[in-house]
Symmetry: C3
Subunit: 180 residues, 3 copies
Amino acid sequence: MAQALQETGQRASADLYLEIQLFYARQMPLLEARKLEEFLETFTEDGYIEHRPNGWKLVGRKQLLIEMTARRGDPDKPKVEEISARDAREQNIAYYDGLVYRYWFDRIRVQILGDGAYQVNYQAIVTMTDRATGKVSFEPTTTVEDVLVRGADGELQTRSRTVTHDTPNWADKIHNPVEG
Amino acid sequence: MAQALQETGQRASADLYLEIQLFYARQMPLLEARKLEEFLETFTEDGYIEHRPNGWKLVGRKQLLIEMTARRGDPDKPKVEEISARDAREQNIAYYDGLVYRYWFDRIRVQILGDGAYQVNYQAIVTMTDRATGKVSFEPTTTVEDVLVRGADGELQTRSRTVTHDTPNWADKIHNPVEG
Amino acid sequence: MAQALQETGQRASADLYLEIQLFYARQMPLLEARKLEEFLETFTEDGYIEHRPNGWKLVGRKQLLIEMTARRGDPDKPKVEEISARDAREQNIAYYDGLVYRYWFDRIRVQILGDGAYQVNYQAIVTMTDRATGKVSFEPTTTVEDVLVRGADGELQTRSRTVTHDTPNWADKIHNPVEG
C-alpha cells in the first residue's frame, strides 16, 4: 500500500515498516503451526531459502514443500532421538516432532530496492518448547537477509531468504537435546 | 488518540500500532516490578486473565489482585524450593520469590473490533533471572490473545487476556528449576 | 528528521519511534560485529556506559575503545576458560572470545527531553552462541536507560547508557559457562 510513496534509497516510512512487520507476524506463525502450503504462499513461486555456511539451498515452493513436509514434524508426536539437522535430512527424519518452535526477530532493517522490492535484514532466534515437558531449548542465533516483492494483488511475498548461522557447525549440532 | 480514524476491519495505522506497543511497554514492567495495583489499573474493572489448557481463569481486578499478591513474590527473598505453578496455588506459595521475571513479546497483530476495541495477538516468553546467581531460565512459550478497550479517559485497558501455553503440562512443570 | 515536530513531554510520533528503533538496529550489530570504532561513532565524544549495581562507568569514546578492544574478543578464537566479567577486567582477558553475542531489546519507550534529546528505556537480554558448538547461553536480563541526542548532521547519537542488571552479582557470575 505504501508502495507508491517509496523510492529506491529512501528510508522506509512508518507505514511501510509496519506493513513489513505485520507481514512477518502473519508469515511466521504459519510455519510454526506447520501450515506449510499457506506458509509457502507467502513466498513467490520461485522463492528460495538458503542456509549458510555449510548448509543447503531449497528453490521454489515445490521443493520447499517436499523438504518441509518431511522435516517439520508434528508437535503432538513423541520427540525423535537426538539428531542433527544434517543427519535428519540424510535419514529422512522429522526432527521437529514433539517440539513447538517459535521464531523471534529483532533489528529489522529495510532497504528499498525499487519496483516494490525490499531488502530486509534481521536477527532471529528459534525457541523449541518440548510439547510434553515444557522445557525450552534454543537453536543457535542467526542473521537473515530477505528480499520481499509485491505479488499481483500488491501483497508482500518473500522472494529469497538467506539465513546465516552464528556457528559454522549449526547443521551438525544436536537439534533436539534431551538436556536443555 | 488514533481512535477516530479507525474502523472495523481496517488495518491498524502506524499511530495505533505504536500506541498499542507503548501500552504493553508501560503495562508489563508494572507486573515485573510487582506494582500489582498499578498493573491492574491497566485492566478494566471486570478484566480477566485465563490460562489454557488445563489452567484457570481469574476474573476482575479484585480476584486478580488477591491471586497475584499471593503468588508474585519478592525478588529479594530467597527462592522457594522447586515447585510447579499448580502446586504453588494449592499450597499458597509465592513461587516467584527470588526471581526477576521479564516478558518478551513478538508478532504483535491488531484487529480493529469497532467501538474503540482491538483484538491483539502475540507470542510471549518469560525469562526468569535468579536474583542471587544471575542464572536465566525460561517458562514455556505461549501465544496470547488480548482484547483492549478504551477507558473513560481514552486510554487503552485490557479487558481480557487469554494465554495459551505451548505445552498442556505447563502448570505441572517445575517453575523455578535449580538447574537451568 | 522528526525533530522539528517534537516538543518536550509530547508522545513520540510513529516516525520518531521508528527512527529510534532503526538507530538501535544499526548501532547494536556494530558492537556484535566488533566494529568498535564504528560502534563508538554512534556515541557522542563524551558518551558513557555505566553498569549498575556494583559495576563501573566508562566515560568517553577513548576510554570505551580501550576497554572494549581489550574485552570484546574474537568469535573465531577459542573460548577462554570460565571467568566472570569482573575477573576478566582485572586479569585483562578478552572474555567474549569464541562467542557470537547478540542483543535483544523489548519495551522501548521514548520520552522527549527537548532540544532534540530523548530518554529511551528498554529491557535487554544478551544471547551468547558458542561459535564452535552452537550452544546458546544468556547473560542475566537488564533494563537500560539511554539518552540520545542529535549530532551536527542531525543523526542520533547515544550520550549515555545506564545498564541496570537484574542481579546485583552479575559481574561475578561466570560469563562463559561450559554448561548452558
